[in-house]
Every structure is written in structure tokens, then in C-alpha cells.
Subunit: 376 residues, 2 copies
Amino acid sequence: MTTNFQFSVLAEDGSARRGSITMPRGEVRTPAFMPVGTGGTVKAMYMDQVRALGADIILGNTYHLMLRPGAERMARLGGLHEFARWPHPILTDSGGFQVMSLAGLRKITEQGVTFQSHVDGSRHEMSPERSIEIQGLLGSDIQMQLDECVRLPADESAIESSMEMSLRWAERCKEAFGDQPGKAMFGIVQGGDIQHLRERSALALKDMDLKGYAIGGLAVGEPQDVMLDMLDITCPLLPQHRPRYLMGVGTPDDILKSVARGIDMFDCVMPTRAGRHGLAYTRRGKVNLRNARHAEDTRPLDERSDCPAARDYSRAYLHHLVRSNEALGGMLLTWNNLAYYQYLMQGIRDAIEAGRYTEFMTQTQAEWERGDLDPV
Amino acid sequence: MTTNFQFSVLAEDGSARRGSITMPRGEVRTPAFMPVGTGGTVKAMYMDQVRALGADIILGNTYHLMLRPGAERMARLGGLHEFARWPHPILTDSGGFQVMSLAGLRKITEQGVTFQSHVDGSRHEMSPERSIEIQGLLGSDIQMQLDECVRLPADESAIESSMEMSLRWAERCKEAFGDQPGKAMFGIVQGGDIQHLRERSALALKDMDLKGYAIGGLAVGEPQDVMLDMLDITCPLLPQHRPRYLMGVGTPDDILKSVARGIDMFDCVMPTRAGRHGLAYTRRGKVNLRNARHAEDTRPLDERSDCPAARDYSRAYLHHLVRSNEALGGMLLTWNNLAYYQYLMQGIRDAIEAGRYTEFMTQTQAEWERGDLDPV
């Protein structure tokens, strides 16, 4: 096993890349989807199930974990891998995004951010240096710089000054992270929906020669074509031999189209959150199990799936569980959804290797378009 | 495989019995604990986990299932075994107990009970005949007579007239059930906490020559010694070669002491419900994972357990999950608790076979008394 963090592009098809990140805790096959393990658990899943679906890496949320169980406590407990029984690679966000969206009484200065915990109201400070320190205490393999993500719509001047501060924070995070050969710290491209700000951010980060690059501040409510435009602008400016991670994205269709533009890594709460709300992602598109059409349908969600949740349980049973708010409903649909996402990623990787990514996209989208099975 | 419902006592130790119920869907080794699968799911568990723990039979709640998904719908879907993916034996209650505790606008007459669904307010009628019909539509292997369970404390005259009506309902249920060689309908001994009423109920039911006998109306808040007194009175009056089922019981200690008095079958929501509330049943007694003493304890709940939930996860992690209201907390603790209950039942069965049940009780209680591990 390697002692270094390394990324190789193994195959290309247009701008789509099939790659491999290797690091001491294992390999991440890209394009990769990272299930979100917010507070040390991928909600309603056992970690062995997550692994068995083909996930090489999961995401942990620094904000949640620093509040509960706490970063220093986590370090005393042996780190997040040990704590959550996931010995494979882990990426952590910086905590910044959730400070902005969840915490109370936020105050942001050049130095960093102070905020109040949404759990118990306690006061916390997070600087770029402290974010990296916390991610280190968690034991994260891929760490993110602290950045500021402005809510859109916003004035260009507000987006710009925030982006510039994020660049200065990237330098400070790089310095704080130092030299850790088996791990990586990624910078985050910001700049809202403004082309020249995205360009400025990407080029400045490129100059810092980081081990990987995230694209942040997208998939926050803007139309899909705005997001894709920003990728069209940003990806070509990023170094070819570094992984590119589109944060918080997205729907299966977002993923297909972002891979086509050169994105290598994704994370999103959609498959897990939707699963807890009765929604299934399938080859045939999104299926709402709450709908009465499923009440007497003994067919499974997808008879061709390898996932027991998709293959072995009747829609009638899933419908019943969802309508009755039974825990097993969320367990099975989360399982199904993460299985579908990993199945999609495997299909994407195979198609790029085979040089038929465009065809794969078209076929996959056509299958979604045909829609779900006719009612019984 | 047998085509008949049969019960054999394989070994006796004092009044404790080691037995076997055989029926077309499989064998139930007694004394048996039946996990409660209220609405077609043992909450927060996959059925294969339940099975792997050693459960031979689960319980389904007629009240919940008749309201959702509905008895006729369940029959169209192939019955509860197929619906919930549990091909092994299932016992259903009559629905009566939950009509009394959950439904609205109840009206009880000699004919039966009318009530309003707690789910959607719809009106329903349940007679003894309809209860058996519903249990048949669900596909239940062991069905319960409809009875009336009076809330204690109550006047003797109220307890008596209710018990007498339950006897008449037992006759009607027996008639409605008819001749089904592979299945069974059990009568239910009532009579509150009054010795001569329990005797009258047991003897009258014995005269009906039913395939099994339940004892109802206990573990409803009375002190344990009252319950045990009622068992001391009732069990000797019941036929030796029929299974005896103590409904809704109980704690591990209740089970130990009831087995000593000749009980063969149990069901209880405690292990599943407690699991969802952060409580673990272990060899060392009850452990509250919410307690701060576990926050940095890397030891598992029980290093000697075969159950991954008990053996492989740190108390610190379980504490974190419980405190954070994560679904996985309830999943793991329910798993642990059902594992402990099945482990206890296996120990009970082995001890009776070996003729050392009294010693087993003493040792088991002493281990509970010693209590949990010292804090780290």
C-alpha cells in the first residue's frame, strides 16, 4: 500500500476522466460518489452495507463532529475511522458551510468565524487553522480548506470579497496543513455565478499547487445550466493531474453532466435524505413510494438490481413502511438509493474506460425518461 | 415437515419445561421469546437479522395490520409471511388489547367491539368471528381468541363479567376457527388478580380442549409478585401437553421466573422499545447508553456476545448515536437487545435440558446484580 496521496487519470473520454486516488487507507476509484456520513454515521445504514455497495470513501461533516462528540474527544477515541468503524478513506468538509447554514449568531471576520452551536448554544471559534486542526484530530484523509460560501443572489462585490478572503484562507490552510504525504488538503473554487470571479479563484488556487480542487458554492438553488456553465469555465483552468470535487452535488443527472465536464468526485445528501422521505432512485427515475399506486404492487423496485432492498422487497411493503413511518422504510430506501448511486458511478467509470461515455449518458437519461413501471 | 400443529414437552426441570412446537412453517423451540413485529416489521431490524439471532417465531399485531395495510389487502398480497419476508411461524394477537389501549370511541357489547382507528378515524367493528377471520387473512399460524382485558384496579364484579364474556368469546372463536390442522387458536385466561376468577377461567378454557393457552391481563402495571402468584395458580390448572403463553411479558427477570412456573412462550416490546430509547439489555443488566459515563468508553457492550452490535461497536460510539438521535443508535441497540433476549432463551432451554434450571437462574440473576463494567 502506498504511503503517499496520489491521483492518476487512467482514461479520458472527451472531458470525462476515469481516475484513481491512492492513499494509505485505500484506493478511491473516480468518478466517485461519497455517501454523506454527517455525524459519524451514514444515516440508517450499517457501514458494512455502505462498503458492500462499492463506496470507496465517505464524507464526514466537521461542523457536526466538532460539536458532537467533539474533535479532541474524537482524537482520544482513535479518530473517526475507528469511531465509526470505517477503515477506508474519509473526506471531511471544513465545517464552514454548515456554520453558515445551521449555527446561530455567526460572526465572520478575516480571522475566522465565531458561532453558537445549534445543539446546545455553546460558543465556538473556527479559523482556517482551527478547521485544519479539527480535521486532523478527526483523522480525515482528505481535508478541505475553510471557505466562505455566499448565499446567492448577492452583489458582485460581496461575492468577490468573499472569494478573495477564501483565497487567503486557502493559503493559511495550506500552511496549517503542512507536509502530510499520505493525506491531502483541497482548495475550494468560489466566485458565485460570475465567470471572471470563478476564473480568478481557480487560477489563484492552481498557483498554490494543492493536491486537489473542490468547486464550492454551486447546487445551492441556482438552475442546473448555471452550475454547468460554471463547470465549463472552471474545469479547464484546473490542473489536469489533480482530482476535482464538486461539493454537495447532486441528482443523478447533475452527476452525469458534471462528469462530462471533468468532475471526479461528488457528495450529496440526496440519496440518504430522499430515502428517509419515501423516495427511491432507480434506473427508471425517481419513484415516490408514498404514492397509492404502489399499495398492492408486489413487484420490487428493480428486479435487476444486486441490492436486496431494490430486488427482494415488494413495492407494497415499502409503501406500507413509508406510510406507517417505520424505521425499516428509511433503512431500505436509503440502502436502495445509495446502491443506485454506486451503480450509476460504476456505469460511468466503465463507460469512460470503454470510450463510450456520451452513449452511456444518452442511454441512462433515456431510461429515466421512459419512467417507472406501469401501475399493476 | 409436519402438516399438523403439535407440541411436545422434551424435558422438565421442576415446573420449567423445554418443549417444541412443530407446524408446517417450522419448529418453535420453547421456552421461546417472540420479537414483536407490530406493523409487519420488527422495528429497526431486517428480518434476516431477527432470524439469525435465533428467533423461531415473531408476533404480529392484528389491530395495526387490519388498519394498515388492511386484512383483505394483506390476503391479496399473499399474507403477512410473504409481505414482511418472514417465512417462519407467526403468532398474531386478537387485536383486542390494542383496541382497548389505542383506538378511539370504543364500544364493547356481547357481540364484539366497535372502535375508531387511531390512524385515520375510520370506524371498525370487531367480533370474535371477525378477529379470527382477520387473523386468517393475515395468514397467522397461531391465532388468539378475542378477549377483553380489564384495566386494573377494577371491581371484582367487573373483572368477573369481563372474564365470563371472554370465555363466551373463546367458544365463538373456536367455532369460527374450525378445523385447521396446521394452525392453532389459543384461548386466553383472564380474571385479573383474583384467584378464583383465574381458576374459573383456566378450567373453563381447559374444557374447550384448545391447542394452546395464553395468560392475559398480566404485566399491566401490577407488582411482579402478583403476576407470579397468578401464574402459580393458573399453570397447574392448564393441560400439561399444551403450550402456555404469557402475553406481553416481560423483563429478563420476569421471563426467568415465569419459565420456572411452567410458561413456554413470551412476547414483549421491551427489547425493541428500550433499544430505541438508548437502553441496552446485557449479561450485566440494563445499561443506559445515554449516560455520560460511556462518552469515552471504547469498550463494547459485551465482548463475549456473538452479536456484532454488542461486540464490535464502542460504547462511546453508541452513546454518541443515542445522544445525536441517529437511526443507527436504535438499530444497533434493538439488535443488541433482541440478541440478548434470544441468548437468554437459549440459556434457559439448555439449562432445563441439563436439569440445572435453578442454578442457571441464580447465576444469571447474580450476573445482573454485579452490574455493568466499572467506568473507565
